[in-house]
Amino acid sequence: MTATDASDAVAAAVGPRRRRLPSRGSRRRRLSFDYVSFMLVFLGLPLAIFLIFVIWPFIQAVFYSMTDWTGFTAEFNVIGLGNFEKLINDPIFMRAMGNSIKIAIVVPLVTIVIALTFATLITVGGSSRGQIRGIRNSSFYRVVSFFPYVIPAIVIALIWRQMFDPSAGLLNGILTGLGFDQFESYAWLGKVSTALPVTMFVIIWGAVGFYMLLFIAAIKGVPAETLEAARIDGAGRFRSAVSIVIPLIRDNVQTAFIYLGIMALDAFVFVQALNPSGGPDNSTLVMSQQLFRTAFTQGQFGYASAMGVVLAIITLLFAALVFIINWATGGRDEGGRA
């Protein structure tokens, strides 16, 4: 009597259940070498790697966030939620969190609006007569606008830091050259009012090219006939973009929003390079920067882990928010691109 027979007998004894699922017994796989080795290599191995290198560090981080570990000794005490309590009452961290949230709101929104505008112009923004096409020389603009993405973020940040230099910077040089003498030695990154906006500008400048390319690819996936139909229905360029193009690529926009949000909540490279000290009055300090400082300069790994946990939770909340907004505005029954 084989194993299958035995299970059949059990199933027969259960009766009604077997009748409901008549093909169950015959469809059960045999544990052949082929099947087992396939499962081990393609399911077991990736799962093990994922568990060991992704899930376990998460759990570890959560655990360390409840300790007073310094990071440089083997000893630590479990102090429960003490670190989190301390975080809430830490004005510098709350400031950093505020800045991070500001960046996470402004950067994705502005980047996506600019990227969508450019992508639409390049793909369907051309003459309203004749075939659907982009503006003149659109392929040139497409290549040029992708350049920033090819440059490493740290290099972008350093270039712009030089540009914003109060006395030797290109920006102030141009502005004073144009006659705006009040910018003679204006410290863009050194003033509370401009430091954060300027930082956001640099992040957006670096990101627009890539997201534009992403949207261009998405718009190219919209059948030309659909756009032509809209055109004949009387829709101009702007109307076509708003009523046809954007609804049809909303999945891509949502994905871009989440990616950008995650990047903006981190933003470590940019802020660290533009203002290593956290900016005037900590006005450009972000969570990841404060985390780095706490862990490696102040030697409080337990406390820094708590910051990491908060950062992770905020990132997850952000993603959830994007999904909910998309769902609530009618994205739930999209996807049927007939």
Partner: protein, 374 residues
Amino acid sequence: MASVTYDQATRVYPGQERPAVDALNLEVADGEFLVLVGPSGCGKSTSLRMLAGLEDVNSGRILIGDRDVTDVQPKDRDIAMVFQNYALYPHMSVADNMGFALKIAGTPKAQIRERVEEAAKILDLTEYLDRKPKALSGGQRQRVAMGRAIVRQPQVFLMDEPLSNLDAKLRVQTRTQIASLQRRLGVTTVYVTHDQTEALTMGDRIAVLKDGLLQQVGTPREMYDTPANVFVAGFIGSPAMNLGSFAVADGKANLGDTHIPLTRTTIDALTEEDKGEITLGFRPESLDVATEGEEGAFAINVNLVEELGSDAFVYGQLAAREVAEHVTSGAGEAQLIARVDPRRPPMKGDKIWVKVRAGEAHVFSSATGLRLPA
């Protein structure tokens, strides 16, 4: 309502020498149903898209009514178009799809609703108004695309092979629906198809194009009875017309042992360039079964018999092997098609004798391909 005029309209695609549409002159009367037909790549879709404004016009003019629309944007041409793949907006409901144009035009909501419902009733779509296109069948989507055009109440309907994505049965059904709908609405319609049956059954007039050049315009009857050249003769009609190149001698067209008498006018119309040859065309139904030795009769080896109930068609080759390749069916392979009595069809492998019924042969110049007087 308005007429449509192509005046020497030409379209050359960038980077190409030969125009896709070459100096097209065509007039579509007010309320007329004109079918543009031709093989793929003949420029029929391009012509339609030029009228829609979706394709530039390199030279010449296009008029809708008395208005020159050559440089007018598609949205201002007051036309509606039905696309091959329907081009419905997938994120909108059927009602929104149909009402989109009116919404853009700023029509009051109540009026949009009313007109959409009216069109939906005509097209039997009322119960689907709240559905998204992906929840519809191919035939229903096609009707929504039609509805979107009707709701506009445009001056001209443009249809670009709207039936080619439907299955055979639905295509025949929808064909008659569209034709009768057009007659009822009385809107000038330009319809593109590659299917000559659709052209013959639907159009008030047919325009045949080939390689960007207009070959002939006329009513279905004219196209069938008096094709202007060899191409039209071979293209219109199903099964296709048999076309053979014959040598002219003694007032007869000769091919092997076959001798078909020609009229005086035909022989007089022949020129030097024809080099004593003539192209003869005869439709499958113009052949009568004859007996051996009759004047003008020729033998066919039967390869295949297609029985359709009402008709039976014999597919074969001239029995005279050395000249068999001189007779083709349409522009196709060397074969000869004859209609025979469906109650007494020959068998495969038989040899039958047929002759062309007097006065039903079409004669064409072998040099120019143009029709000669019979």
